[in-house]
Structure formats: structure tokens, C-alpha cells
């Protein structure tokens, strides 16, 4: 068979693959295009011609409006960046520490303890008791702490880390370190963490994403504007013009270019994620594969 000729079945399958994947990829990315393009359209064009792929009148006035009085946006950014950085670091450190002790075969109650946290995924109190406990027992309403603590730990990630430690850290390594006089915490800090850095990076990025996108904790527990994270502020802007006007310190709600302002705000809120995406994507893919390979 001459090598230049492609079998018809192969050709057909490749053709189907290109068409189907092309369509799906287009559909998934299309809303992003609409968003970015129209955020540069003038309010007048949106009101008169609607959203379109080719804007009739280019304008950056919505962005100008946001950057004219950026204090509140910057504040929301600050809250989000803080809870994302601090929360992820704390969550990753404490999760892996717990996961390490659960992974040690010489810990007699490790399975009981693992089940103790696993049980919370099988049965929970539901939203209402959680809400009441957090507000009236723990008194965490309107605190930065609740934004950090709310999405902090995932049983799933802790158990993935435990499995990972069990399979990728040879038990003999810990024993050797122990004979040399290292304590369990030192072993964890000096040996286990450096050896498993790539897996930790994946789990850390999933955690960071959860923090960045969390609007839910703020919606339930935060009323003070200075504590509102970016996603929640965005939600408020999208759902009320008054809030949008408030954020850009503009009293004249009537003249506010509300449609293009919404778009510009959305672009500003997803900007960092979309920019970081090409560099972090592979860690997420690795993370998903890590989770699906159960040990």
C-alpha cells in the first residue's frame, strides 16, 4: 500500500473529529469572545444594535469609568487575592499534614480517623444548621475568617493526598529518617513535602481556583462592603444597577452605561484567570488524573 494514500475510514473519522471538536471548541469559547468584544463597544451601540461579534462603535468608556474610581474594585480584588493566597497556603499545609499522618501505616487509628472526615461527605447537616452554627454559635458573620474558613478543606483532596503519599513515599524513607533521629513533623516538612511538590501544586491550584471563584460564602455571611470578594461584588453589579453605580462612585444611575459597565467589570474579574490559564492548565489536568487513579 502506498504510504501517501490514506484509508477512507481513517479519513472519515479524522474529518468527523475535526468538525465535531471544532464545533464544541467554538461553542465553549464563543461566550468569552462575545464578552471581550462587546466590552469595547459603546453603550449606544449595545442599546441600539444589541450584542454583536463586530461592534459598530468602539469605545473604552466603560473601562474608563471603572478606572476613574477604582478604590472599591481594588478593595474587592484585595480581599479576593488575600483569601486566595492565605487560604490556599493554609489549606494546603494543613491538608497535607493531616494527609501525611493518615498515610502512615504505623498509625493505628488512621482508618477510623479517615472515616471520621469522610463521613461528612456522606451525610451533612444541610445549609440551614450550618448557617445557624456559623452565625450564632461561632459568630463568624462579617469576618475575613469566614471567607477563608468556608471553602478551606475538601475531604476529597485530603484523601487524594493521603493516597499519593502512601504510594509515592517509600515507607523505608521515613524509617531511615527516624533512625537518624528526625521527628514525624520534621520528616513531613523536610522529606515528604519536597518530594511531592508537583502533586501539591495541582491540589493547591484547585483550592486557589475555588477561593477565587467563591461568591457563595460571601453571599451568606458577609454584608459589609469592605469585606466583599470580587466574585460577589460582580454578582451584585450584574444583578443591580444601584450597586454598579455605587461601585464606580457614580450617583447618576440614569446616565450610567450599565450594559457596557457590566461587561467591563466581568472582563476585569476574569482577566487574571484567563491570563494564567495557559500556564496552569497542565497542573489541573494532572490533578484530575491524580484523583481518578484511586489507590
Amino acid at each position: 500500500m502506498p504510504s501517501s494514500r490514506i484509508a477512507p475510514d481513517k479519513l472519515l473519522l479524522t474529518l468527523i473529529a475535526y468538525v465535531v471538536l471544532g464545533c464544541i471548541a467554538f461553542i465553549t469559547v464563543f461566550p468569552f469572545l462575545v464578552l471581550v468584544i462587546n466590552s469595547f463597544a459603546s453603550e449606544h451601540a449595545i442599546i441600539n444594535y444589541g450584542y454583536s461579534i463586530v461592534p459598530r462603535e468602539l469605545s473604552v468608556s466603560a473601562y474608563e469609568l471603572v478606572f476613574l474610581n477604582p478604590q472599591k474594585i481594588l478593595q474587592a480584588y484585595g480581599v479576593t487575592v488575600f483569601i486566595t493566597c492565605f487560604g490556599t497556603a493554609a489549606s494546603l499545609f494543613l491538608s497535607s499534614m493531616a494527609a501525611y499522618s493518615l498515610s502512615r501505616r504505623d498509625l493505628r487509628y488512621r482508618n477510623k480517623l479517615a472515616f471520621f472526615i469522610y463521613f461528612t461527605t456522606l451525610f451533612n447537616g444541610g445549609l440551614a444548621p450550618t448557617y445557624i452554627v456559623i452565625t450564632s454559635v461561632l459568630h463568624l458573620k462579617n469576618t475575613l475568617a469566614v471567607l477563608v474558613l468556608g471553602p478551606m478543606f475538601s475531604v476529597f483532596y485530603i484523601l487524594i493526598l493521603r493516597n499519593f503519599f502512601m504510594h509515592s513515599i517509600p515507607g523505608s524513607l521515613s524509617e531511615a529518617a527516624k533512625i537518624d533521629g528526625a521527628g514525624d513533623f520534621t520528616i513531613f516538612l523536610r522529606i515528604v513535602l519536597p518530594l511531592t511538590a508537583p502533586a501539591l501544586a495541582s491540589i493547591g491550584l484547585f483550592t486557589a481556583l475555588a477561593y477565587w471563584n467563591d461568591w457563595w460564602t460571601a453571599m451568606l455571611y458577609v454584608e459589609r462592603q469592605s469585606l466583599m470578594p470580587l466574585q460577589y461584588v460582580l454578582y451584585k453589579i450584574l444583578s443591580s444597577v444601584t450597586m454598579a453605580a455605587n461601585i464606580v462612585n457614580n450617583v447618576a444611575t440614569l446616565n450610567l452605561p450599565k450594559e457596557s459597565l457590566k461587561l467591563a467589570m466581568t472582563v476585569i474579574s476574569i482577566g487574571p484567570i484567563v491570563l494564567a490559564y495557559p500556564f496552569v492548565q497542565r497542573f489541573f489536568i494532572k490533578g484530575i488524573t491524580l484523583g481518578s487513579v484511586k489507590g
Partner: protein, 306 residues
């Protein structure tokens, strides 16, 4: 004797147990305390008396939840939507994973996969604004297109039936990249010799997909579908709440248990009903996941949850 063993174990592995304490404490406070809070389902809660001091009202909260007919309608909604999501999600994830694995052009493949995975990274808040850009009545792109074609614009935010299409579509849009990665990992794990042997035996590409790839994916699919069934009464709250919000016209067709609980809690402040409905959901979910775990254990014991 036994007690001494416990103390000795705690003493010997003191550091390891201490290392578990922060996480343990977290789950005690944020998961086990609320489980105790379920007593509120049988009480009439007020802030002054707190969880323990509030007066009992026995089964009144449940009575209200079931007699209003809400229990039945939100349960069926939750169940049917999730079933539809699960079926479509599995179908499209497997389809795209297979097509990506069959594709030779590396750059196209990579780009397509990156695009598909992108929605996973944004919140439902942003996704809701995407939907608004496309579908809102006045300026939305779809309606402008319909007008341009000489058709009447459609008002999706006032017409429940469109949501039977929009919600699954949005769900697939958000999750397809994630599912593709999962199934692609399973496909990569298939022994390449199977395909080579089939080629030598004269199998064409389609036969290889249907006779090798799909059967080899079946265990992964079975487990993932079963796990999905285990969560069938846990609604996708973020999506429903962000895309629909408190839209009164759509509520009957799109209200799920989670949105009902949320509205009772923050809207009408009916803590008793919210707790009762949440408890009802938790119990059903628990029962379902027990059954699912049994089934997984029987089929693929390696993948059993516990």
C-alpha cells in the same frame, strides 16, 4: 487493658495525631456541629433562645414541607435535571475524549482541548453574565439574530420550557472539558497492543472505536455514572441560582431542593422548614449513596467508596 493500648498509641504517635488535629477540629466545627443542628428540623428556631433553647414543634416543619406539595416537585425536579445532566455529560465527555484521542494534528487538538476546558475555570456568576449577553430579551445576541432573520424574539427569562434546554446546555458547556480529561486519561491507559493487533487483523478505525475503545472505557464509565447517581439528589445550586435567581415565573419548573432550602433560609427566614428540607435531602442522599456503593462493590470492588 484496651484503654492502656489507646493511651500508649496516642503517646507513641503523639506528633502524628497532633498533625491531624487542625483538620479534625475544622470538621468538628463546620460539619459535625451542623449535624447536631438538625434538631432544628423539629423546633421553631429563634435567635434569642438559640439552637438548644428554641421550643419544639415536633413534625410541623415536615408537615408544611410535604403538604405544600413542594417536597414532591423539588425532588422530581432535582432528580430529573441531574439525570439529564449526567447522561449528556457522560455522552459528550466520552465522545470528545475519543475524538481527541483519534486526532493526529497536535496543535488543533491542544487548542480545542484548551478551549473546552476554559469554562471550568470561571464561576457561575460569570457564566450567568454570558447567558445574559446571549439570551436577554432586549440586547441579547440570539434575539438580535432572530430579529435580523425576521423572526420574533424569544424571552427565555419568562418562558419555563426553554430552560429544559438551557440548563443541560450550560451544564455541559461548563463541565465538558473536565469530563474529557477524565475519560482521556482512561483511553491513554488502554494497552496500545490491542489496537495494533486489531489493525493487523484488518479492523477499520470505526470498528476499533466501537469494539476496543468503548468496551475498554466501560468500567470507568460505570463507576463515574454510579458516583454521579450517588449525588443525584444534590442539586447544582450554583448554576440554578446564578442563571435563574429568584425568577418567579420560572420557579415551578426549575426549583430544586437546594434552591428551595436557600430561599427558605435567607428569603422567608423559615429556619425550621429549611432544616427539615435539608435533612430530608441528606437522608435520601445517604440512602442512595449506600445503595450505589453496594453496587460498585459488586461490579468493581477496587472502586468502592468505602
Amino acid at each position: 487493658m484496651r484503654r492502656q493500648g489507646l493511651i500508649r498509641e496516642l503517646g507513641k504517635n503523639r506528633t502524628l495525631y497532633l498533625m491531624f488535629v487542625p483538620v479534625c477540629l475544622y470538621f468538628v466545627l463546620f460539619s459535625y456541629l451542623p449535624i447536631g443542628g438538625i434538631v432544628l428540623a423539629f423546633k421553631e428556631f429563634n435567635y434569642r433562645d438559640g439552637i438548644l433553647g428554641s421550643p419544639w414543634n415536633h413534625f410541623k416543619n415536615f408537615e408544611f414541607f410535604f403538604k405544600s406539595g413542594k417536597a414532591w416537585s423539588v425532588t422530581t425536579n432535582t432528580f430529573l435535571y441531574n439525570l439529564m445532566f449526567l447522561a449528556l455529560y457522560t455522552f459528550f465527555s466520552v465522545l470528545t475524549a475519543i475524538l481527541i484521542s483519534e486526532m493526529k494534528g497536535k496543535r488543533f487538538k491542544k487548542t480545542a482541548q484548551s478551549f473546552m476546558f476554559l469554562p471550568y475555570f470561571i464561576s457561575w456568576v460569570v457564566a450567568a453574565s454570558f447567558l445574559y449577553n446571549l439570551a436577554n430579551y432586549e440586547y441579547g445576541m440570539i434575539n438580535r439574530l432572530l430579529l435580523w432573520l425576521g423572526q420574533k424574539p424569544i424571552n427565555v427569562y419568562a418562558t419555563p420550557r426553554y430552560w429544559y434546554f438551557i440548563l443541560p446546555f450550560a451544564y455541559i458547556w461548563k463541565w465538558i472539558g473536565f469530563g474529557t480529561v477524565l475519560y482521556l486519561a482512561a483511553i491513554v491507559g488502554i494497552d496500545q497492543e490491542c489496537f495494533e493487533a486489531a489493525t493487523i487483523d484488518g479492523a477499520n478505525e470505526f470498528q476499533k472505536v466501537f469494539r476496543i475503545t468503548l468496551p475498554m472505557l466501560r468500567p470507568t464509565m460505570a463507576v463515574l455514572v454510579l458516583l454521579g447517581l450517588g449525588r443525584i439528589l444534590r442539586g447544582e445550586f450554583d448554576m440554578f441560582y446564578q442563571l435563574i435567581g429568584n425568577n418567579g415565573i420560572l420557579i415551578e419548573k426549575t426549583d430544586i431542593i437546594d434552591t428551595l432550602v436557600f430561599r427558605s433560609l435567607l428569603g422567608t427566614q423559615d429556619f425550621g422548614m429549611a432544616t427539615a428540607a435539608g435533612f430530608y435531602q441528606s437522608v435520601l442522599c445517604f440512602a442512595i449513596i449506600m445503595i450505589v456503593n453496594r453496587v460498585v462493590k459488586a461490579l468493581e470492588s477496587d472502586y468502592a467508596l468505602f
